[in-house]
Symmetry: C2
Subunit: 189 residues, 2 copies
């Protein structure tokens, strides 16, 4: 998606360790006009799939997920990263290692919010090693729902998880795929 | 706001300790149609204030903040609750005690995302003791921006912070105010 690639080049910053900072528009400040265009693009790709629920993980996936859900006219739901005082009832859980925060999270979701037979589209800001996507897939399967596809803003293609996921026959749609960012030079697929 | 009060009565649950669970529509599952109507209402209240930025705090404020920002045609930004690997640069900080999680958080925000002279509308899902609102107000003041008002989905009126904030001349607009929820009976103002 050209306007996203332009935003990455103009406002993103590459830090050591293949870290791409996009806090200026995607996951700290939220450029809502850009995010709305991204949500339109995701809707156009998946609009024939009978999507009934958008699933993401807190916190940085929520903004895009809500705008996508608005377009589909369905509810969004986000998995939380730890059990807190305001989560109770029967829970779905899946382990998920975060390379960003260097910690094993337990993704949790109230079972009542993901029902058997629902067609679930997973939305997230980044795809790197695929940990979050596979953990969310586990939640969908535990719920007895259908894993209808994955929409990602920025895929770090050089980490390989995206190609692995596509190889499994999953409908993965990434709006921008970065194949290399060595020496701070971003190369898109 | 009548449809929000109805959702609270129909889908909310009162737990011991004055905890109101609204995960079914506000802060775990996101009822995007309801949230969109709430965003319209907030836009109508503040649309003559020259708002240039929506400020919230992760994670549960993000959904409403993004929909409000979409209506104003401005960017949203969310404060994070701890320093993580993907936050760097010059930061604004403010301490904020969370009664939900029983922990002192340090709210942080990249200084580049809140500029001097901006007109900032704070948006959050709950107002109880006012800790988050005052911490976000501190961030706005440290940025040299204007604290233009506060929009809240659900105010726990019986905790008093809302009336205190109004008494300070702040334009606080709560879509639903609960004056009592003892014995699991919710009484709105």
């Amino acid at each position: 998606m050209e306007i996203l690639r332009q935003a990455i080049l103009e406002k993103g910053r590459v830090l050591p360790g293949n870290v791409l900072k996009v806090g200026a528009f995607l996951n700290n400040q939220l450029d809502v006009k850009l995010l709305s265009s991204m949500a339109d693009e995701i809707y156009n790709h998946f609009n024939n799939k009978g999507i009934t629920k958008i699933l993401t993980v807190e916190a940085s996936g929520i903004a895009l997920a809500v705008l996508v859900a608005e377009r589909f006219g369905v509810n969004a739901v986000f998995a939380k990263k730890s059990k807190t005082a305001n989560v109770d009832g029967e829970l779905l859980t899946a382990e998920c290692y975060s390379y960003t925060h260097k910690v094993m999270n337990n993704l949790i979701l109230g079972k009542e919010f993901l029902l058997p037979g629902e067609n679930v589209l997973v939305v997230d800001d980044f795809l790197a090693n695929g940990q979050a996507v596979y953990a969310l897939k586990t939640l969908v399967e535990k719920a007895g729902a259908n894993f209808s596809g994955v929409a990602i803003a920025i895929e770090k293609g050089f980490q390989g998880a995206g190609d692995k996921i596509r190889g499994e026959g999953i409908d993965l749609y990434s709006l921008a795929i970065i194949d290399s960012m060595s020496d701070s030079q971003i190369v898109f697929r």
